[in-house]
Amino acid sequence: MTWTQTIRASAAADNRRRAVPAIALWRAVVFVGGIALWAAISASDLFPAGLLPSPAAVAVALGEQIVTAQYWEALGLTLWGAAVGLAAAAVVGIAIGILTAASSAAELSMRFLIDFGRAFPAVALIAVMVLILGRGIELKATLVFVAVVFLIIVQTQQGVRRIPPSILETARAFRTPRGLLVRRVMLPSAAPSILTGLRLGASVAVLVAISTEVLSGSAGIGNQITDAQLGANPPVAYAYIVTAGLLGFGVNAGLERLQSAIVRWRPPVKGED
């Protein structure tokens, strides 16, 4: 350590020690300030009525909604649609990802399709799919699948590509059968990258499920928002918006925890990036 680094490190440590309680305090201040600003804006005539109800009204509406069966049913339907699509995308995506990572002929053949699929805005399919599939769970799951599968393919590919050659050569030297190689070598080694794909995919899945509900009127959180707003009840609409935000945040944070718990067994491989 050079002396500049020493100074910098000790200054940083010093700052951190002093900063921790201050930051918690400031966060609380920002939270209260944000709510106060929201209340002030909604009380003023800056925006047309209905665009931004007061935070108190939203809190009351959320409190009223949260005890109804309808609320939990909407939440459940959204999550179920997202989960079914994500599960299907995981199965197909991991399989194609491993296949294309193991063979460069397969990778080159699939490259355009994967690029195209990743850039394809899946929600554009709603208009066609709603006519073909109706407004049920099939519609949501299909769109979630299309939106997520390419992400998982790419993450799996990258995970398998990063396996150090020495590991694969060892496995080959022992003449490990292909099925065993995939199950016991490739999947565990690529697990962190695949899990990242699933975590990102889960956020996208919730997003697409809600978008589908907003656009097609399929039952769930998105549909509740539209219904409440059409029924001139913005506080209820905002109650569901807060729910959607907490859902997205919760899914992401929960999966982050889960991910670090699952891959804890695995020491970080040097030069993995």
Binding site: P48, L51, P121, A124, P165, L215
Partner: protein
């Protein structure tokens, strides 16, 4: 992994055969299709031709992508400006981080019914919605990009007493550029999703409106044509952007040193 590598010709052939086979298969299989839902590919293309011939295609594209680019530029300016400010003030960033995380994961589509039902189906609300969706990835990636600049770089800039404006222009923004570019790439695809959603929810013009209207009239070939058009545009934008980014940010990659010295001696030929 030791995977086989291919020569340039076979690599191109390998990349091309599957898409071509799939399009041909679609063409052949759908040719006899009598299903209302899966019209023959030729019918879809004919519908697209009619759409282009009628002239509404061009006005729709101009309307939709006029909104899109306006929102994207606005989001870039606002996102980079606020992101740089927060990135330069680590304390502020630390305080705001849970809230930024919340808004990042909040699906912006939830605001579509609110904004469109209250503010109407005009241009403004759509630009606002696309902006709202695009600004987060740019903002968050800018913050991350500024943070990733090494402390020694800032210390050097400070020891030379480089004024703030110059420091931002010549040190901070170039340093954060690769990460900002990632944010922009995300924003480009998120923006197209938002464009489609906001127009399909309620509009009187635009590509999304065309798709919605054809769907409601049960004109499947037109609906398919619009959907495929959006897909191709989505892919094209990302591909063009990646190509541009690759060239513009050539200096940030590993061989930056050799490139730069080469540029000095042999002139700019990146």
């Amino acid at each position: 992994m030791n995977v086989k590598s291919y020569g340039p010709v076979s690599a191109v052939l390998l990349q091309v055969w599957l898409p071509v086979v799939l399009v041909l298969a679609w063409f052949l299989v759908s040719a006899q299709s009598t299903s209302v839902f899966w019209p023959p590919l030729t019918t879809i293309l004919a519908a697209f031709g009619d759409w282009a011939a009628s002239g509404t295609l061009w006005s729709s594209l101009a309307y939709s992508f006029g909104n899109y680019f306006m929102a994207l530029i606005l989001a870039t300016v606002v996102g980079v400006a606020i992101g740089t400010a927060i990135g330069l003030m680590p304390r502020v960033g630390q305080v705001l981080s849970p809230y930024l995380d919340f808004f990042r994961t909040l699906p912006i589509v939830v605001f579509v019914p609110i904004v469109i039902l209250t503010l109407g189906v005009g241009r403004g609300p759509k630009v606002f919605l696309i902006f709202l969706a695009c600004v987060w990835p740019i903002l968050l990636n800018t913050i991350e990009g500024v943070r990733s600049i090494q402390a020694s770089v800032f210390e050097t800039a400070r020891s030379y007493r480089i004024p703030l404006a110059l420091r931002i222009r010549r040190v901070v923004l170039p340093g954060a550029a690769p990460q900002i570019a990632i944010g922009l790439r995300l924003a480009i695809s998120i923006g197209i999703v938002m464009l489609v959603v906001s127009e399909m929810y309620g509009s009187t013009e635009g590509v999304g409106h065309f798709i919605l209207q054809s769907g409601q009239r049960f004109q499947l070939p037109e609906t398919w044509a619009g959907t495929l058009l959006i897909g191709v545009i989505g892919w094209l934008f990302t591909a063009l952007y990646m190509f541009g980014e690759h060239r513009v940010l050539a200096w940030t990659r590993q061989d930056a040193e050799t490139r730069r010295s080469g540029r000095v001696s042999k002139g700019d030929k990146s």
